[in-house]
């Protein structure tokens, strides 16, 4: 008996010296994310690209819509001030890449953000509440799915004029639909687990159940899907621009720069290479960051 009390005391003393401060899932996730070299490198590169996109135009003597009559299809050169060359109209590609990057990055990130926020909450709610609510919510989703999207965009553009905000609205409206479906499916499988039952027993409210128990458990899939969405959104925007529904000349985006560059690649390869390098690098970075996020958010994977 004496020894057990002594043991207990020893254990108590021992444990007092150890770290007992609680860490949250987010603290852990941050630490794990920053330990992931690929993800960290990608984040840094993406940071540089963002910096370039916003500060780049200030470093050049040209404006993005300014035509340099003496330098059409000019090759990249430091001497002339056209660091990345010029396009077929003699506009400086360095500045245009930066300006286009603003649009592309914003569209990509906003689309993915909307998808993550609305899609995750919508899907988790539908899946968790279930029953009639689920049926109504999913049928609503299907109606939105079947909506002729191009028609919707054309309608918006005709009524409200061309506006970059409209592209955001249009892209936001479609991007979350797939996400909601994926999350709902995941939620249905998590809902049956015993830890959800246990949480019901100690009276966790529906909202807390969704945000604390369901959503963290679907975040892995959400993170990966969101990073796949970013490139999809960027490409989608260039498709819209191509149809004349997205950004309009002289404003540009990586998508439309690529499109122009592809037409002249036999005589001026840099017009294709420059935006392509930026786009590909960005997409790679997003994918690595997505991978890193998924690993960081999954405690089993450390």
């Amino acid at each position: 008996m004496l020894s057990t009390t002594a043991n207990k005391e020893a254990v108590e003393n021992f444990s007092e010296q150890l770290e007992v401060k609680g860490r949250s899932l987010w603290d852990d996730a941050r630490r794990r994310f920053f330990n992931n070299r690929a993800a960290l490198t990608s984040l840094v590169i993406l940071g540089f690209i963002t910096l370039f996109v916003f500060a780049g135009p200030m470093l050049s003597q040209f404006a993005f819509d300014e035509v340099d009559w003496g330098a059409m299809h000019a090759a990249p050169s430091v001497a002339s001030g056209h660091f990345f060359g010029t396009d077929s109209l003699g506009r400086d590609l360095f500045v245009r890449t930066a300006m286009g990057g603003r649009i592309s990055l914003m569209v990509g990130v906003m689309g993915a953000l909307v998808a993550v926020l609305i899609g995750t909450l919508y899907g988790a709610t539908a899946g968790f509440v279930g029953g009639r609510t689920d049926r109504v919510m999913m049928r609503t989703l299907e109606i939105l799915y079947s909506f002729p999207f191009m028609f919707f965009v054309i309608l918006l553009v005709t009524f409200f004029g061309r506006n970059i905000l409209l592209i955001f609205i249009a892209i936001g409206a479609v991007s979350w639909l797939d996400m909601a479906r994926i999350v709902r499916g995941q939620t249905l499988s998590i809902k049956g687990k015993e830890f959800v039952e246990a949480a019901t027993v100690y009276g966790v409210s529906k909202w807390a159940m969704i945000t604390r128990h369901i959503v963290p458990n679907v975040l892995g899939i959400v993170a990966v899907y969101a990073t796949l969405l970013v490139p999809q959104m960027i490409l989608f925007e260039s498709f819209l621009s191509f149809l004349g529904l997205g950004v309009q000349e002289p404003m540009t985006s990586w998508g439309s720069l690529l499109n122009e560059g592809a037409q002249t690649m036999e005589i001026a390869l840099w017009q294709l290479i420059v935006p392509a390098v930026f786009m590909v690098t960005t997409l790679f970075c997003f994918n690595f960051i997505g991978d890193g996020l998924r690993d960081a958010l999954d405690p089993k994977d450390r």
Binding site: S24, L25, T200, Y202, S205, P216
Partner: protein
């Protein structure tokens, strides 16, 4: 050992849980089948007592537990907790009694959220039901509780998958106990564990029960575990309680033919005795709870059943210490 004078905590009266089962490809107007998972069970539980519930798989033990705690809505009957009917309370009113009744689950790992640290898991009931308690006190209580169930407090930042089954079950126990409940419903808490770990967990439960004056409803299909921990035992068959009694009386003298068959199937850890043992095999399978036999539900497999058993539904009868539901009890005891 007498329980008669203790405070009555839980009184389950004629509890029925029926599930409406719709057949696949059924027409919208076809009536769904009625699965009688629990069909009229009466239970009494007194303060500080352990009530064992045994029965084979699919007899409604877990459904009974879930209906008592409110995870499944009871179709009919009452669950009186200190005189208050839990089946009639709405969600809000039910939250008040949540801290009195807690539950431990069968699969230790599945009952813990894989994305939460152990500290958060154990603290969550406190944070949910007593948001007024300051943070520091919550973490103090969590650590005290971890010590109590035999976990080192420095493990708070670990995740459930880093623990063994037995440790996970201790975490589940800590989470259930942190609210200082009066009753814990243990739904086969040791079925998923090794025998040696089973003993540790069962003894931990017994020790905590003594320290905190807990009542337990202990569901299991392992008779030796039930015998070890229970004061009283209920034997269930196909949604009905067929025999109720103090553990001593019931294990010494099983009266119902089903209980007798169950007892005879318990292996004895001595091959010489085991060899000579006469196992009373039950014929057939557990009948479908969608279509239970008329009269006594056990009659289709009972070696002593006669024509009368099909007509009358037996009710529990006997002394306060030991009751069983068998129509031919007198005849059996005489013969």
């Amino acid at each position: 050992m007498t329980v008669a004078k203790k405070e009555l905590l839980l009184d389950v009266q004629d509890l029925k849980v029926h599930f409406q089962i719709k057949k696949e490809n059924a027409w919208p107007w076809t009536k769904p089948a009625n699965l009688k998972a629990v069909n009229g069970v009466d239970l009494q539980l007194y303060a500080g007592e352990t009530l064992g519930v045994v029965g084979e798989s699919g007899c409604g033990k877990s459904t009974l537990a879930r209906a008592i705690i409110g995870l499944i809505k009871a179709t009919d009957g009452n669950v009186l907790w200190l005189g208050q009917d839990l089946t009639e309370l709405d969600d809000k009113a039910l939250r008040a009694t949540r801290s009195d009744i807690q539950m431990i689950f069968q699969d230790p790992l599945a009952s813990l959220n894989p994305r939460m640290t152990i500290g958060d898991i154990i603290a969550e009931p406190l944070r949910t039901l007593r948001p007024d308690i300051p943070k520091q006190e919550v973490s103090d209580r969590v650590q005290a509780m971890m010590m109590k169930v035999g976990l080192l407090p420095n493990l708070v930042n670990r995740y459930p998958h880093e623990f063994s089954g037995g440790q996970c079950q201790r975490i589940g126990i800590a989470r259930a106990l942190i609210l200082e409940p009066k009753l814990i419903i243990c739904d086969e808490p040791v079925s998923a564990l090794d025998v040696s770990i089973q003993a540790q967990v069962v003894n931990l439960l017994k020790q905590l029960q003594r320290e905190m004056n807990l009542s337990l409803i202990f569901i299991a299909h392992d008779l030796s575990v039930v015998k070890h921990i229970s004061d009283r035992v209920v034997v269930m068959y196909l949604g009905n309680a067929v025999e109720v009694g103090t553990a001593d009386a019931l294990f010494a003298d099983p009266q119902h033919p089903y209980t007798q068959a169950l007892m005879s199937a318990v292996p004895i850890p001595d091959p010489n005795i085991e060899k000579g043992k006469d196992i009373q095999l039950l014929e057939g399978e557990l009948p479908s709870p969608i279509n239970p036999p008329s009269g006594c539900v056990f009659r289709t497999r009972c070696p002593h059943a006669d024509a009368g058993c099909a007509e009358q539904v037996p009710s529990l009868s006997g002394s306060a210490d030991h009751q069983s539901a068998c129509l031919r009890l007198d005849a059996l005891q005489a013969g």
